[in-house]
Subunit: 390 residues, 4 copies
């Protein structure tokens, strides 16, 4: 083994963390907890882990949270934690979508920094209200568009920003899955149930669940905003209430063009998020399922395979990397990068009292943009693909 | 080496072939000639290989055509060949696009079978006229949508038809290249010059040159017709007169959905034609640059890699295969399959005097459909993506 | 996201952990610490992190270890920790190779369970002495042949054991790297310096550093012991004291045959550990740099790509998996599986007082076997490839 | 489509070709015929296509050879063809191995140039006799180590020769198949029957059939001769008379090291010939099943994917290429390159009367070397892996 470029461990002053959602039967809660532990920057001290009060308490105790801080609901949690000396500094919100807004609002109002799952809210009205509250309270806010935490995504973004691709012309992004090819939601599978239920998921199905990830990634890497879009949403599985296949044409600023496809009914695809960015001088390609590689073609030269921590990777990737080249990092490490970035911001905030909600971790702006994207695709699709400005 | 499933060689009664276009400096002419030779079904006996008379004659003699049948132009060729005892039975038309129609028309009217490059014509009016002429004369007609000649494309088509994928829901097809990322047409490069010139190429640039290939492949494999489309064509290179990037949303019959992307400005792509077809019961993926492989996923099972002549390949592939599994076939073999299929049809026609313009070789219907596709995308794009019925 | 098969978090009763080695400038220490944290089964409470006393203490404090348990050397650590009430239960030894034996011996003698880096020792004499000590004291002992912690390696092992491949005939294993293609050890690079120094690394260079990993993996998956081997070691870089290229022919029990190649001078290879196992009824292929995939071919059928947590993966993989299919896990997660397996064993030992040093975590037997492999390859190579019995 | 670098067609003065072997039920005969036709440099005029006289005649007539030159056996063919005005100039020998020598000898003695399948002969004694005869008669002789005809193999060879890799250190070559995993020879399958029969195949089974290909490729690309080898041959299938798994350690000149593995019992492998070459300054990797790609890593830089006819390919590849980048060529095109190279040599010989049996087509030296390789591996294996000088 060779290089020593790993992210630094900084044990001292671990940040006090709480969690809402993510109890028994959830998937994403455990991911957030591993992400928080990975670099030893947080200690999880409080939680309201489920909507049902007893399950909320039990779930918290089960994973080692002190009974005194295992809350039956988020309201009791915010009340208590904001009134004790060593109350939590950051809360992670990992509930179904419809609870993101009320929970986030409550903790923001209490002056507690927030890490919130995507989508930020189920309407742009709520998203705007949250933005006002955050501004008023001066707290930090991250939205876990976690794919932007992958080292080679950071590398791609840096290459675009440094001009290695020249002016960007085309962005092709897609996120196909196959797990909802049948009516899984009718079998009692929890994840399927809430993600296909408009009450809990909001107005977007596939577009909200994974389309937003693709959309955020396109902007994050290309450094371009989408100005307008034309969408065709469809639901293939009978009686499904929300879309399960999403096709969108995109017009970015500077006349760049793009396409976005997201699907939950494409057999053979697990989480096949993939992005390709083409500029006047070169092209890039990255795939989430093989995240340690970034294909780069300088126009007129052979394709190159840049690897995480390999000789072609730059500072942006190095800053998000723990181990040497050829030893793959994965989804959890990318997720953990969001947590570590946020920990940096929280630490800076503590010492400077200034608010530096800078990239690279995805923040409120990404969250708001994602909500608008969902609304615009639905609107466009209902109007037979009319171009809608974002 | 193991299996013996190769296509049969049938030397006897080689078909008399002529060619129009494909002289010095051309690319596709040599491809057609190799394709015609591959299985020894044709002998090339006559040609008018260039638009400039002397070059036409010289080019023909240079490749071994008898001087008496090296013609200065196609009109002299058709006149003479249709009046000699052993005149050509089939003509290959490999000129720039704008000449496809007049040349094809002339040979059809003389009762000679035609293999014509795509697109069939530069307007649907011309295409319709050709259709009438063909019907009247009762000749055979192939259009070299050559990618449909690949064994694993045939395999994919057969799997869809046999119901292995169930009802088709989504078709994603793309054909990116990078060779026109700069204004190559201004450097004197011949291929770039005529392909970006509306006079020679017709109204479509990228959409006509490669978009039509993608479109034909989608229909060939999915067994579905596109009912309507919404397109966004764009030209990124300054002063380029035709589109060089093509984005289309597709609605197929039976409510299947699709997207098509073709581009000539995507660095890192050579001829990256790729198609993915998803049905209720499974998914398929094929890439032209790795044509001996077909990915197949039966829903709920691991992905399988079916190989040409391998254990998972069926009769459709076997009928288009010459050598054992693991020994790759390529572009020329796929092209040759069109020629061999057509030779079968010509032989059948000779013995039965009946006209069996059946698949699997692409014929007049594909040609007409391709011209309509070009016109529809241009129309939709000019109307800001309005859905246009095909 | 779909399945919920993640490894369980078990916060309660976290195991008290100490570490020897792994201070500033080391690579593998941080890896062990992340691995220990991943599933929240350990708390790191004591350390002697470097050979130089002051650096040892500073390094420990820097990563948050209490100053009272930041020791200047391992001897002081073992003395103190074995005499306090809440002394460490497990020690991780992550020093250069030559210190594995004395440090492990000291902790074993004090009745503390050990997780030790590979190779276990620099001679089979020392390895045997350690074995006796472990037996006498009844402690648990893991050797971090960490690649055996990857879920798809566990899957491969399970498939072989269940008979899906039939009788195993051929095992091909390789581990090429390129980082020592030049005399990096002469530039002051720490990792290169000790790994190419016989005093610190022991008698094997490449063979000890990575060849042993390949060897262990071959046995772990194939369920076969190597009976004899013929080796050709070579050192390509001038003045390098230890081998940097290793070629070995292997004869396994049951007449299976194999080859092993390890190299540190193969440009284009980062950590390209790869294994292929062929039996009468099928074949398997796995690559460390793409660890979420396992290629499986049942003889006479298409190749299948089994994915971690995907539909073709069984219980062995599921037990070593945290997140859904299509979300890649990597090196750290595989490493953490060894730690979690060991935590299970330690917990079982605490409650039952019985010693169940069972697979799947690699233990003393793997460690001893690795040392014998190093010695046998060196002996064979010195005798011009004579077959040496293991 | 872009570049115009295709191999030139040269129709005039097609070379008169005959064939021995390759009749009904054979595989490789059809391959040779397609290869001969591909670039229109030969006309097949005579044949003795089978060992059984009537089948020999029928097979020839069936593929269009004039009845007067459809011979019942090769002796009649050589007698007649060498005594007519327009007798064949070149003969292709595509019989089972044991007939290569007598047939080649007869045609060489008649002053006819020879293209002979590998292995050249079943003993080095015969090979030496053939060498003498060729020298005496001054004819040209090719041995169809056809993999050296692939454009990217030529590219690799050129890169090594130009010094881009620096001094070569390691060569890893392998050729696994799976088609003989069971006792196919007992089912009446012709190919299996003769290839596992010592009388027809000679003393080597897998080693002669595919091991020699791997061996030739290693030398062709690395530009190094093997000085000695240590081999372990094995036969896994019960009652099989010849080896079906071959493991060899190689020592090249200049102290380069290598390994060779060939197998016919490795499920999941079709014709997975693959070579990797590592030098002081860089590494190369090529795989026969994906022949249009060449991986190249300059030490310290990202891996590059050089494509046939792409921007990174040089003159050696261009000279063996027919169509633009991204349109794959395959096995038949590579094979055809040997035929075209040989046609160049024959044409040069006709005009200059001088003998220029130069590379890049594989010739008598490759043939002799291959026979020695077979004998050396068998000898080494019988002596328990003793190193044998070549």
């Amino acid at each position: 083994m060779t290089n020593e470029n790993a992210k630094n461990e900084m044990k001292t002053n671990r940040i006090r963390l709480g969690m809402v959602g993510g109890g028994q039967g959830a998937f994403i809660g455990a991911v957030h907890r591993i992400a928080a532990r990975m670099d030893d920057r947080y200690q999880l001290l409080a939680g309201a882990l489920a909507s049902e009060p007893q399950r909320a308490v039990d779930s918290a105790i089960e994973i080692g949270i002190d009974a005194a801080r295992a809350y039956p609901d988020y309201q009791k949690m915010v009340d208590h934690e904001s009134n004790i000396d060593d109350g939590i500094e950051v809360v992670s919100i990992v509930t179904p979508n419809h609870m993101h807004f009320p929970v986030a609002r409550a903790f923001v109002d209490a002056g507690i920094h927030v890490i919130c799952d995507k989508p930020l809210a189920t309407s742009s009205k709520d998203a705007a209200a949250l933005q006002s509250a955050v501004k008023k309270k001066g707290v930090l806010f991250a939205v876990t568009y976690n794919y932007s935490g992958y080292p080679m995504v950071r590398q791609a973004r840096e290459m675009v920003r440094s001009g290695e691709l020249g002016r960007i012309r085309v962005v092709q992004v897609e996120y196909p899955q196959d797990w909802l090819s049948t009516a899984l939601e009718e079998t009692g599978q929890k994840q399927a149930a809430w993600r296909t239920d408009p009450v809990q998921a909001g107005p977007g199905g596939c577009v909200g669940d994974i389309g937003t990830h693709a959309f955020q990634l396109a902007g994050f890497i290309s450094n371009l905003e989408v100005k307008s879009l034309s969408a065709d949403l469809y639901s293939f599985v009978e009686d499904r209430k929300l879309d399960d296949n999403v096709q969108v044409m995109l017009r970015f600023e500077n006349n760049a063009r793009g396409m976005l496809w997201a699907s939950q009914v494409a057999p053979g695809n697990e989480n096949a998020l993939r992005i390709r960015v083409y500029g006047e001088k070169g092209g890039l390609e990255w795939s989430q399922e093989d995240p340690n590689y970034l294909w780069f073609t300088p126009l007129g030269h052979p394709r190159q395979l840049i690897t995480r921590a390999g000789s072609g990777a730059g500072e942006a990737a190095a800053g998000a990397t723990r181990i040497p080249a050829g030893h793959p990092e994965g989804y959890l490490e990318g997720f953990a990068n969001i947590y570590s970035d946020f920990a940096d911001a929280v630490s800076a905030h503590k010492s400077t009292k200034k608010l530096i909600e800078s990239r690279p971790y995805p923040g409120l702006a990404d969250g708001i943009s994602g909500v608008k994207f969902i609304e615009a695709t639905i609107k466009s699709s209902r109007q037979n693909g009319k171009w809608i400005r974002l």
